[in-house]
């Protein structure tokens, strides 16, 4: 299978090493604990494992079969065939971190291009090579802000309209630091950002908002950014990259740090991972950014090439003084996003964003007109919106599932105030027929 040694070769090799048997290689391991029995099922052949896995997969229902209106941080988008075709090249996926630039220019240049695309989308100056996902990127923003103020500012304000899982992960990360206050998200979830302004003071290190926010809403936050800056604090924005093809960039509205979940850029839903955390900053923070950075340079003959740079910030050099402990990141997913955005380009990505926008607005209008359902939004939204339902979201979703529809997210799970509120996502994957079918099925339910 994957171990190539013939019995004869094994024998020769043992002899060269000077031990009699394979067991003889392990005498440093305490005898009592050596060679424990592993109580696992016997190994399967490839043929058998394929069948076994297919059976497991068949126990799922996927968005290939269901009409999907579920988003809340992971979105169903079309991934062109060329993306996976390139990702499957062994030259990309069986290489590791490009520590040796002479034989890693493929990975290095593609990361450099990834950094450029993220800079372009977010309207920032510098992007790193990636984080694990949107949640950890948001948490690393807080870590960066903490270090930026050398621990002297101890308040971190989170808008309640930031993805609840991101807030949770950020709290886990900041738990290692003593004396911090992470707050702001206790209030009414649907209030506007202005409600946060009284909390921002000279002890505030960072304010984290989301754009579009967890409820899908979008608005110009330039004035809010100015308020944050007046207090000398940093504004971090978690953004949806698809929306950025259509809407004003966070950089243009005053963000200091832009993070987000890169999954919408050509990465399959895959039950939540592996995804892609992007992280971009204004140039003043380039030396404080965590993770890997690729820079352009030349070789001895003056040929352009790329290298990992500013590595003195990283754990393998700085050890306990590093800006983060991150080592392996999401290289292959950053490549997927780079290929996806290159393929769609300026026009294609904008087209996807517009399709999401038009379809979600059509869906919102139709659902809002169903008796008992009420659109909660006052202002604008992108491709997700909140609907107040006439009954328990879980029951509605069970009914929808019987009709082959994966309903929206039950906001009551995270926000007690939003019991019976559903968050519905619509992308280019939802046809008008599918949306109409959703509405008909909801109507049918309200008549029951």
């Amino acid at each position: 299978m994957f171990i190539p040694h013939s019995p004869k070769e094994t024998e020769e090799m043992l002899q060269a090493v000077g031990v009699k048997s394979l067991e003889g290689l392990f005498e440093a391991v305490p005898k009592t604990f050596r060679f424990p029995k592993l109580n696992l099922p016997p190994g399967l052949t490839e043929m058998e494992v394929v069948e076994h896995l297919q059976e497991m997969a068949d126990a799922n229902e996927s968005v290939r079969e269901l009409a999907c209106f579920l988003g809340a941080g992971a979105y169903h988008h079309y991934v062109p065939a060329a993306v996976d075709s390139l990702l499957r090249r062994g030259e990309f996926y069986t290489a590791y971190t490009p520590y040796q630039p002479e034989i890693s220019q493929g990975t290095l240049q593609s990361i450099f291009e990834y950094q450029s695309l993220i800079v372009g989308l977010t309207g920032m100056d510098v992007s790193n090579a990636s984080h694990y996902d949107g949640a950890t990127a948001a948490a690393e923003a807080a870590v960066m802000a903490y270090h930026h103020f050398r621990g002297k500012r101890t308040r971190f304000i989170l808008a309640p309209s930031v993805n609840p899982q991101y807030r949770e992960v950020l709290r886990t990360y900041m738990n290692g630091y003593e004396g911090l206050e992470v707050s702001g998200d206790e209030g009414a979830p649907l209030h506007s950002l202005e409600e946060l302004e009284p909390l921002i003071d000279m002890n505030t290190a960072m304010v984290l908002i989301q754009y579009p926010d967890f409820f899908g809403r979008v608005s110009d936050f330039s004035n809010f950014a100015a308020k944050v800056h007046q207090a000398g604090a940093l504004l971090a924005v978690s953004a949806n990259p698809t929306a950025l093809a259509l809407l004003k960039s966070p950089g243009a509205m005053g963000a200091d740090i832009v993070v987000g979940e890169g999954q919408p850029l050509g990465i399959p839903l895959s039950f939540g991972g592996p995804y892609l955390g992007f992280f971009a900053v204004k140039k003043d923070f380039v030396r404080k950014i965590a993770g890997r950075l690729v820079g352009e340079t030349v070789d001895a003959e003056g040929r352009r090439g790329f290298v990992l740079t500013l590595t003195a910030r990283e754990q393998h050099i700085r050890r306990e003084k590093a800006t983060s402990n991150i080592c392996t990141n999401q290289g292959l997913l950053a490549l997927a996003a780079t290929i996806y955005v290159s393929l769609l380009g300026k026009n294609g990505l904008r087209q996807v964003a517009e399709l999401c926008y038009h379809k979600s607005h059509y869906a919102a209008e139709r659902i809002g007109s169903i008796p008992g359902y009420e659109l909660v939004h006052q202002g604008g939204f992108f491709h997700e919106f909140v609907v107040k339902c006439p009954q328990n979201v879980e029951d509605i979703n069970a009914h929808l599932l019987d009709h082959g529809i994966l309903g929206g997210y039950d906001l009551g799970r995270d926000y007690p105030q939003l019991k019976d509120h559903m968050l519905i996502a619509v992308t280019e994957m939802n046809s008008k027929d599918e949306i109409d079918y959703l509405c008909e099925t909801l109507e049918e339910l309200s008549h029951d």
Binding site: E27, P42, S104, A135, G273, G295, L310, T328, N329
Partner: protein
């Protein structure tokens, strides 16, 4: 050949993918919020295919040849893993779907939790952490939460051997601990005498990599764990080197209280040019309630006819979430596939042959490289890339010269406690011919270092680019296809 960037290849008006026209009446776009400029390239599909194909050809990879990066376990990545993760029933499930619709995913995760528990000798496993470093962070936060839950607030120190990976001290600092470095003794083990002098009630724990980064199994592991437990601390195991221990020893039985596994090393999920990784964490009985969640549990037992009902739950005193959703699921599918294909005997064989290959390669070097700790090694070993009678040559030069012979260099300058270190891990998937050839080349380079040092100093000679000007890169900081404030 220099490959232009995607921005240099861009031609205004070119389209790579078409999408259908809207089938709904268009909504009015929010005029005041629309962006004016979108600095993205414009390319056709074939432009993109050729660009990335050409870039890929500038990479060295496992599918091409030996990649002996010590501590990274660059073993062959079976192709079936890739097929498995792409089965539509796995790849196209949404993480927030009702549990009834993802029983296949949950069953796979549950079984993988059970397998990792059994392999590591632990009481419970969380699959949430995204990579090794995050697994470490998780482990250290669990240790912290454990002491706090007992009202034991005086433990402020984390002991870390000087041979440890840089992620260990970085993680401890992130988790609020003061790092105390421990020396290594003359046999390459943790120095027990030094350990005894610092082991007191201010110690939260010790982070142990075993086999350590010298490739040596710590012969005193049980004593080390005993001393830490006696002073009330916990032992963290860095699972980076687990490829040496499958079916050889269970870390949980050796006294490790909490440990992360690197699925992208030990269990063959690909390294992807720098991720994604996956770093599940296993714990002993006393730490089960602190694991990050959600973890997969059985909600209703099954029987011969009916499958059990699986669900997701948060451990009682959880340290919280460490990432969104349920971990790097696609990586879990690959690792599950790999473990399922190997079974208990196949797993043990992996470690036996990983250790055989490393020792064989070391033997074949015939003493041409100085070996600081003379013992049988485990799955990797560390030699010095420097000779007293070839003063101009450094480990870096040896590494670069290897590229001319079509090999990926080993890890160099790590671990820090070995002068001019070359850390070599061949893995079990390399055959004898490749190891023989690699050994011959290393021996030849050792000769060249003495006879033609300039060949090493100027290496590599046959790669797409030569040694890069890293100072210029750090000084000028061109990190993007255009400079700040001048969008393309």
């Amino acid at each position: 050949m220099i490959e232009p960037t995607i921005y240099e290849l861009s031609s205004p008006g070119r389209i790579g993918v078409r999408f259908p026209e809207p089938d709904v009446p268009p909504a009015e776009l929010p005029a005041s919020l629309l962006r004016e400029e979108l600095p993205l390239p414009e390319l056709a599909e074939m432009d993109v295919i050729r660009h990335f194909t050409r870039l890929s050809q500038k990479n060295y990879c496992i599918d091409y040849g030996l990649y002996p990066l010590g501590s990274c376990t660059m073993k062959y990545n079976p192709k079936i893993n890739e097929e498995a993760a792409r089965i539509p029933g796995f790849a196209w499930t949404h993480p927030l779907q009702p549990i009834e619709t993802v029983q296949g995913n949950l069953a796979l995760m549950y079984e993988l939790q059970e397998y990792i528990k059994e392999i590591g000798g632990f009481a419970a496993v969380s699959l949430q952490p995204a990579a090794g470093a995050q697994g470490e962070f998780t482990g250290v936060m669990i240790i912290r939460a454990y002491h706090k839950s007992r009202g034991d607030e005086k433990r402020t120190k984390m002991l870390i051997p000087d041979s440890a990976h840089g992620t260990n001290p970085a993680t401890s600092a992130m988790s609020g601990y003061e790092v105390v470095s421990l020396p290594t003794d003359s046999r390459g083990n943790v120095d027990l005498a030094a350990l005894r002098t610092v082991a007191d009630d201010t110690v939260a724990g010790l982070m142990l990599t075993n086999p350590n980064t010298l490739g040596l199994f710590d012969e005193n592991v049980c004593d080390v764990a005993g001393i830490i437990h006696e002073c009330g601390g916990l032992v963290y195991g860095d699972g980076a080197n687990m490829n040496a221990l499958l079916g050889i020893a269970k870390p949980g039985e050796l006294g490790i209280d909490v440990m992360h596994f690197n699925l992208h090393k030990t269990f063959s999920t690909p390294h992807g040019g720098g991720g994604p990784g996956s770093g599940p964490v296993g714990v002993g009985e006393q730490l089960v309630d602190f694991l990050p969640g959600p973890i997969v549990t059985v909600l209703e037992e099954g029987d011969d006819e009916v499958a059990p009902l699986f669900g997701l739950s948060m451990p009682k005193k959880t340290i919280g979430r460490v990432k969104s959703f349920h971990g790097q699921f696609g990586m879990l599918v690959r690792a599950y596939t790999y473990i399922t294909m190997h079974g208990p005997d196949g797993l043990r064989k992996i470690s036996e042959y990983a250790v055989l290959n490393a020792n064989y390669l070391l033997a074949r070097l015939g003493g041409k490289y100085h070996l600081p700790y003379k013992r049988l090694c485990m799955h990797e070993f560390v030699v010095e890339g420097v000779w007293p009678d070839a003063p101009d040559i450094h480990a870096l030069d040896v590494a670069k010269r290897l590229m001319d012979y079509d090999f990926h260099p080993p890890t160099n300058y790590f671990p820090l406690i070995v002068h001019e270190a070359l850390m070599i891990e061949p893995t079990e998937t390399e055959n004898k011919q490749t190891l023989d050839k690699f050994a011959e080349v290393l021996v030849k380079i050792a000769e060249e270092a003495h006879t033609q040092p300039e060949l090493l100093k100027n290496a590599p000679h046959n790669t797409p680019v030569g040694r890069m000007d890293e100072v210029k890169a750090a000084k000028e900081l061109v990190l993007c296809c255009w400079l700040p404030e001048t969008p393309a």
